[in-house]
């Protein structure tokens, strides 16, 4: 040792990129917990993001759920059953440390980040884990071909493969959440129909804050684990972790990922929160409460039953259900439809970016390839950020009436195939 190898330099880039992905995951998902509370005025935007970020941090730090085998659900043979990288993918073209695997992970992460940023720009909630898995699968296809992808899964008693881990959950989660929230909302309005509007509104806001906090905590225990798993995989590939003993996630990885996701959450994905809280349907406190309770219940029930669902899809389905559950509410189905299209293309789109990044990196020596891929990521990120400045959404405008904002229509028009 003592000499800085190519693998070490690429490893550093992978770690930083993974933390950047975790950060985008944070602000992409703030709305899942807090959009409804902000929309109904139960919490001020500032208080909401502070609460969500704190609970995310706590959730990420207490959770010991092992995400070491992150790629196994969708990719064959990159990792072995116990989470160790397959020796075949350790070692680069010239037989040094595991730079090939590092490049796949790097390209996959870039795919996930680019898709997260693009959907954020368009104000569309989409699943960060699907973006990450999509990016990794795309990079894998580019590197090793289609046969390396675990499409249908191998397990007989668990959801597995691209179909079981990505496709089926994204179809089922919003439907379940929709039903639960619609039933809950209908019951609440039936039971409180004689109550004064002002009284009802003020009391249900308290309940809403409780339910939203539960969602934020549950989110923390789940999502940061994926980044921790990716970083640990990269550390193993680069030979930085002794694999002769039982592998555990290093403490600095844990703290780094927890802090990154919490910082992202605190930044607040205002554009996405606006769509969730104001764009799909106008909700009041009882609806927000029923929606958030539905989200928390469905997420806890699904993880308790070992049937993991995407928080984003559950939260979006809940808000639609809460909208429909109230008689006379108008759901903007066009917004819901655009959201559903974004879900459908998240996996392949992130995969495409991941594949392109990997192919670009192969055109040059590995170290230069990694630098170029990271440079492209920074360039794309800056471009998207500048684009977002044209019609900014922040904590002051997040709760504005949907139709009152001329820019909302502009944002919607920017989404391809949105026209009827």
């Amino acid at each position: 040792m003592g000499r800085v190898t190519t693998a070490t330099v690429i490893l550093v880039m992978v770690v930083v990129t993974a933390l950047a992905f975790d950060f985008t995951n944070g602000f992409h998902d703030t709305g899942n917990a807090m959009a409804a509370s902000i929309a109904t005025g139960a919490l001020s935007p500032k208080t909401a993001v502070t609460l969500a970020a704190t609970l995310d941090l706590v959730g990420a730090l207490i959770s010991v759920k092992v995400a070491l085998t992150i790629t196994n659900a969708v990719i064959d043979g990159i990792q072995m059953k116990n989470g160790l990288p397959n020796p075949q993918f350790i070692g680069s073209d010239n037989g040094k440390q595991g730079t090939l695997l590092l490049m796949v992970v790097l390209a996959g992460l870039v795919g996930g980040i680019v898709w997260n940023l693009l959907t954020w720009l368009l104000g569309l909630p989409s699943s960060s884990s699907h973006a990450l898995l999509g990016g990794l699968v795309g990079a894998t296809i580019a590197g090793f071909g289609f046969s390396q992808v675990n499409w249908l899964g191998h397990s007989t008693d668990k959801l597995d493969g691209v179909v079981g881990k990505v496709l089926i959950p994204s179809l089922i989660s919003p439907v379940i959440a929709f039903i639960v929230a619609a039933v809950g909302t209908r019951i609440v309005f039936t039971l409180t129909r004689k109550m004064g509007e002002k009284f009802r509104e003020s009391r249900f806001r308290y309940g809403q804050v409780g339910a939203a906090s539960m969602v934020a905590l549950a989110h923390g225990t789940n999502d940061a684990q994926k980044t921790m798993g990716v970083i640990t995989l990269a550390l193993i590939a680069a030979g930085q972790i002794d694999v002769s003993q039982e592998i555990s996630i290093p403490l600095w990885v844990k703290i780094g990922a927890a802090v990154a996701i919490a910082m992202g959450t605190y930044l607040g994905g205002w554009r996405i929160m606006r769509t969730l809280g104001k764009g799909i349907v106008d909700i009041n406190a009882p609806q927000g409460f029923a929606g958030d309770t539905s989200t928390a219940s469905v997420i806890l029930a699904s993880s308790g039953l070992g049937f993991a669902l995407s928080t984003t899809h559950v939260a979006s389905g809940s808000i639609m259900g809460a909208g429909v559950g109230r008689k006379g509410a108008e759901v903007r189905w066009s917004v819901a439809g655009r959201m559903a299209s974004a879900w459908a293309i998240t996996f392949p789109a992130a995969g495409l970016v991941g594949a392109i990044m990997f192919l670009i990196s192969r055109l040059m020596p590995e170290l230069l390839g990694a630098v170029v891929v990271v440079a492209i990521l920074i360039g794309v990120s800056l471009y998207i950020w500048f684009r977002s400045r044209k019609d900014p959404v922040d904590k002051h405008s997040v709760g504005k009436d949907w139709n009152a904002e001329p820019d909302a229509a502009h944002v919607a028009d920017a989404i391809p195939h949105a026209h009827h």
């Binding site: 959730g59 207490i62 959770s63 809950g184 109550m195 004064g196 539905s294 699904s302």
Partner: protein, 96 residues
């Protein structure tokens, strides 16, 4: 095909559990707030006179909700910390 069977099997369980909690808790909360409105009377309760018994009703429902929330939190925190959570009668048990 396995995925589809596993998915359907899991989906209805999540739906049932989700409905029990996700529609059950709003029901309990609505009943509790109803109790508060009854106790308050006037504008809160369609012009009816205040009936203090509403406070007791509200208290009972809030205690039930709080118990469920504490169970939920305990489950979330302890499974995250790597414990197995089970039940011994109404009392949760935690084991590594």
């Amino acid at each position: 095909m396995n995925n589809l069977i596993v998915a359907m099997d899991g989906a209805w369980k999540v739906l049932v559990a989700g409905l029990l909690l996700g529609a059950g808790i709003p029901t309990l909360f609505a009943l509790a707030v109803n109790g508060l409105a009854t106790a308050e009377g006037g504008e809160a309760a369609a012009g009816a006179a205040p009936r203090p018994v509403g406070k007791l009703v509200a208290l009972v429902f809030f205690i039930i909700i709080l118990t469920l929330v504490v169970y939920g939190l305990a489950w979330l925190i302890f499974t995250s910390l790597g414990f197995k959570v089970g039940f011994n009668g109404p009392f949760p048990t935690f084991s590594k």
